[in-house]
């Protein structure tokens, strides 16, 4: 177990290094001048040069990269060229919203995918399977628009944008996740309002991964259900429910867990679109705005944080697989 954690930490360092190099190379190659963008078109040559020197943009690229790494290692991801605030501060402001949205989506995807997989494992439940497949095959923004039209415009059940109704003041801290903070402070009005706002965007984000998970779980369960140990469980006279949930499900978790880890990547990519549609004040919205103003420190910061998140979650998936299947513990 300790070896696994160490090897994952090493992998995390390598991947972050690679990601930073890619982001840095992109920044160097793209023919836009962040300094010029900062100081404005009317600045004098001298002013530009002075600013360039101040920001270190006149040094050779390898030196710039090393300086960039050195700063990143100490938690300094430079200042955003657009917001003029440290990128770390910006991320601190926007990341909780995204984590809350992505977390809610992950929970919905796991529950929905699990139900779908179990319900359809024995050849039944064709209708829900087709329905979900149809939903997942629509691009997320289309799905989002359709759901907004129904639940917001037509039925007025769910809000269209934001994390919280403007009439409610969010509690201060400690996590920045409104549902959790609401619970901590006993502010149940915040909890329910936050959940209300989460419902649509989280569902739109979750549907694709849910279908992927469900299909993987389904085929995995179907394989397990033909295995000898299932026949043994039935021979014991166990109820079919027990056979399925206690014996088959755990043996069938490996592939869906792998799929779940991979889907996290898609989920994080989907955040960008969904946050734009629902005006969700998270990292996705921040990224879109940063890209359009060639704000490379911001883009680099987001990339590194989301990359780290991806690696950490997939390491947790590995761990979960080991918990689910004791045979992996010896390896």
């Amino acid at each position: 177990m300790a070896r696994l954690v160490l090897s994952r930490l090493a992998a995390l360092a390598v991947i972050l290094l690679a990601l930073s190099a890619i982001v840095f190379a992109l920044e160097a190659m793209i023919p836009s001048d962040p300094v010029r963008a900062m100081v404005g078109a009317s600045a004098t040559k001298e002013a530009v040069a002075a600013k360039r020197h101040e920001l270190g943009f006149d040094k050779p690229l390898p030196v710039q990269y090393v300086r960039f790494l050195g700063r990143a290692a100490t938690g300094n991801l430079s200042d955003s060229l657009r917001t003029r605030r440290p990128v770390v501060t910006d991320l601190g402001n926007f990341l909780p919203a995204t984590l809350e949205l992505a977390g809610a989506a992950a929970i919905i995807a796991a529950v929905l995918g699990g139900l779908l997989g179990i319900a359809t494992a024995r050849g039944k439940g064709t209708a829900p399977r087709l329905l979900m497949l149809a939903g997942a095959s629509a691009p997320p923004f289309l799905l989002a628009l359709a759901l907004l039209m129904l639940f917001y415009s037509k039925w007025h059940i769910l809000p269209s944008s934001g994390r919280l109704s403007s009439s409610i003041t969010p509690p201060a801290g400690p996590t920045g996740l409104l549902v959790i903070d609401g619970l901590v402070h006993g502010r149940f009005d915040v909890v329910s309002d936050a959940l209300w706002h989460l419902a649509l965007p989280a569902f739109c984000l979750a549907l694709g991964p849910a279908v992927a998970l469900g299909r993987t779980l389904r085929s995995s369960l179907q394989t397990v259900l033909t295995q000898d140990h299932i026949r043994t469980a039935r021979a014991k006279g166990l109820k079919e429910r027990t056979v399925l949930l206690r014996h088959a499900l755990r043996s069938a978790l490996n592939a869906p867990l792998t799929m779940g880890g991979l889907q996290v990547g898609l989920l994080l990519a989907g955040v960008v679109v969904i946050e734009s549609v629902f005006a969700w004040p998270g990292v996705g919205l921040y990224t879109v705005q940063s890209i359009s103003s060639t704000d490379f420190p911001a883009v680099a910061g987001v990339t590194l944080v989301l990359g780290a998140l991806y690696v950490v979650i997939n390491s947790l998936v590995d761990l979960a697989q080991i918990v689910a299947d004791p045979r992996l513990r010896a390896a």
């Binding site: 000898d228 140990h229 026949r231 039935r234 021979a235 006279g237 043996s251 004791p326 045979r327």
Partner: protein, 611 residues
């Protein structure tokens, strides 16, 4: 059917208590008109062990599952199966589940796959026993040492024998009246098999549970069964007291099975007696006696109608054969072919179009000086760090050119690793491997079905192998047909794919591919352990023939001492990664020197039906 039922009643006369399992005229058909069982009637008395013997496809496992009410919903079932008076045919899933839970237990073939890999064994037993304490008690009754500690372990942490004891504990945990044991020892080593068979007998004696013991091996059934039932083509061929069926069989199939059985004293100079043909295809069964196409006594009347079981002429049981009286006598001759070591029959068909090098008998002069394979002090370890274990530990052996060496040992002794290193599939950590001239060694695996490419036809596979030999396309085609003939397959097999072939045919195809370009050394990894008795004998004969004709040396890895003795000029016994005894094959069984060899020899089932 009334005669059969009456006869069974008569036969069971001493048993006054109601049978634990009463099967009446049971027929099971699977989708695709696969007739697995066609009217079988069988009773099991309280405390009785019935050995149900048959080849693969005979319907024996289906009968076991029917007794448990575990047949898949797609199966069409008629007749009646009463488990302690509860109907298991046509009743609801829930009724059958409750009957199963209350009255039955099951032990299946492979304890590794039959136990849930993700659940501690104690909990798995407790599911059947009702509580953890009852589970510990069941483990104790199944003679699992340190039951408390074992209960906290996962299946993969136990040895094969212990796993099967856990399965048995699970089967007996609910004090069932019937235990269905489906090939419970087939996946185990011979010494472990002997222990498990003894355990099952003890459990019957202690608890009075009846046991339906399903096996393909008459000798194993003989070890513990009170009565033996022989199944063929979904029909009961013969049933009677174990000693009678073994020693006074009167169905020609039972007679043939006894004759084809490879024993420790089968003459090595002649081919093994074999049954012609293969078991019937359950999708296309003949209207008459299913055994008639292979039966030396068959006459037109046999093909007219299914023979019903009637009182056997030689024992107290039943037999379904029009010629039951004659079969025990001299008229039945199982085919006895002349020795491959002398003047091989069918040499002309073996004489193929491509020069095969010098032909000679296995004991004759060798074409190349020096050994076909020489392993000197090889070592191999697997695992990392603390878990690193030597699997092969300073092993030396020699296979002379044209000679044959059988490498025998129990699972985990390192025999397969040795073979893999010998053919270059694995590199040794230390020591030297010298392969004689004449091209790379060829390999035949245990599971022929899995070693063939599913989407290629047999012809394509053979031609692919021949392409490496530089033959042009027409020559390759001619040659593949010749090779198929050589292994006793018709030419039209070339157009088929593996799944369209029977198990025996697949093993022949694997063999054909291995010898298509005759190698100097043929390495076989348990090629017969997955085959039924009569097919195993056929494959052994074929190997002996091919070896004599092609002048190949052979390294034959097996856990079966009798097969080793038959196929090997010399036999080497392996244990713990080393060779503990090596000698001429005749001596190993008759005069084993090492205690481990003696234990292996002692554990071979010997057809001594207990009283």
């Amino acid at each position: 059917m009334s005669t059969a039922a009456e006869a069974i009643e008569a036969e069971r006369a001493p048993a006054v208590r109601a049978p634990v399992l009463a099967i009446r005229d049971l027929a099971v058909t699977f989708p695709g008109a696969v007739k697995a069982l066609r009217g079988v009637t069988l009773d099991i008395a309280p405390g009785e062990i019935v050995g149900l013997v048959g080849e693969s496809g005979s319907g024996k496992s289906v009968l076991g599952l029917a007794a448990l009410g575990l047949l898949p919903p797609a199966a069409t079932i008629t007749g009646s199966v009463l488990l302690d008076g509860r109907q298991m045919v046509g009743t609801s899933d829930e009724e059958r589940r409750l009957a199963r839970r209350r009255y039955a237990g099951a032990v299946f073939q492979d304890p590794m796959t039959s136990l849930n890999p993700t659940m501690k064994v104690g909990r798995q037993v407790a599911e059947a026993a009702g509580s953890t304490e009852a589970a510990i008690e069941a483990l104790e009754r199944a003679r699992v040492p340190e039951p408390r500690r074992r209960a906290g372990q996962y299946p993969h942490e136990l040895s094969g024998g212990l796993r099967q004891r856990v399965m048995i504990a699970m089967a007996i945990a609910g004090s069932p009246d019937l235990v269905v044991a489906d090939e419970p020892t087939t996946a185990l080593d011979v010494t472990v098999q002997a222990e498990i068979l003894a355990l099952l007998t003890t459990i019957r004696d202690e608890t009075g549970s009846s046991i339906l013991f399903v096996t393909h091996d008459l000798a194993v059934a003989a070890e513990l069964a009170d009565r033996i039932a022989v199944l063929y083509g979904g029909r009961l061929a013969e049933i009677g007291p174990a000693a009678d069926v073994l020693h006074r069989p009167c169905h020609p199939y039972t007679v043939a099975l006894m004759a084809a059985r490879l024993r420790g004293d089968s003459p090595r100079a002649t081919m093994l007696p074999t049954l012609e043909g293969e078991p019937p295809d359950p999708r296309a069964l003949p209207p008459g006696c299913p055994f008639a196409p292979r039966c030396p006594l068959a006459e037109p009347a046999c093909d007219a109608a299914l023979p019903e079981p009637e009182a056997a002429p030689t024992h107290d049981g039943l037999v379904a054969c029009l010629h039951a009286g004659e079969s025990a006598g001299a008229r039945l001759r199982v085919r006895e072919a002349p020795s491959p070591r002398g003047d091989p029959e069918g040499a002309a068909t073996l004489d193929v179009g491509v020069p095969l090098g010098q032909k000679r008998g296995p004991t004759g002069a060798t074409p190349h000086p020096g050994p076909a394979l020489l392993l000197t002090d090889i070592t191999k370890a697997f695992g990392k760090g603390d878990r690193r274990r030597a699997v092969v530990d300073g092993l030396s052996l020699e296979v002379p050119a044209g000679g044959s060496l059988a490498l025998v040992g129990e699972s985990g002794c390192g025999k397969t690793t040795t073979l893999r290193m010998a053919v270059g599939l694995e590199n040794p950590d230390g020591g030297e491997i010298h392969v004689g001239p004449g091209g790379s060694p060829q390999l035949v695996f245990q599971d022929a079905g899995a070693s063939l490419t599913p989407w290629l036809t047999v012809g394509e596979m053979l031609e692919e192998r021949l392409r490496t030999d530089g033959l042009d396309a027409p020559a390759r085609r001619t040659r593949s047909v010749e090779v198929l003939q050589m292994v006793g397959l018709p030419a039209d097999v070339a157009t088929r794919r593996p799944r369209q072939l029977s198990g025996g045919q697949r093993q022949r195809v694997a063999l054909a591919r291995a010898v298509a370009v005759p190698p100097a050394l043929l390495a076989c990894d348990e090629p017969i352990s997955a085959l039924d008795v009569s097919l195993a004998a056929t494959v052994l004969n074929l190997l002996m023939n091919l070896r004599a004709e092609l002048g190949m040396a052979m390294l034959f890895v097996t856990h079966d001492l009798a097969a080793a003795r038959f196929i090997g000029d010399r036999v080497a016994v392996m244990a713990g990664g080393r060779i503990i005894e090596e000698g001429p094959s005749e001596d190993i069984l008759t005069n084993p020197q090492h205690p481990h060899t003696a234990a292996l020899v002692g554990a071979i089932p010997r057809f001594e039906a207990h009283a």
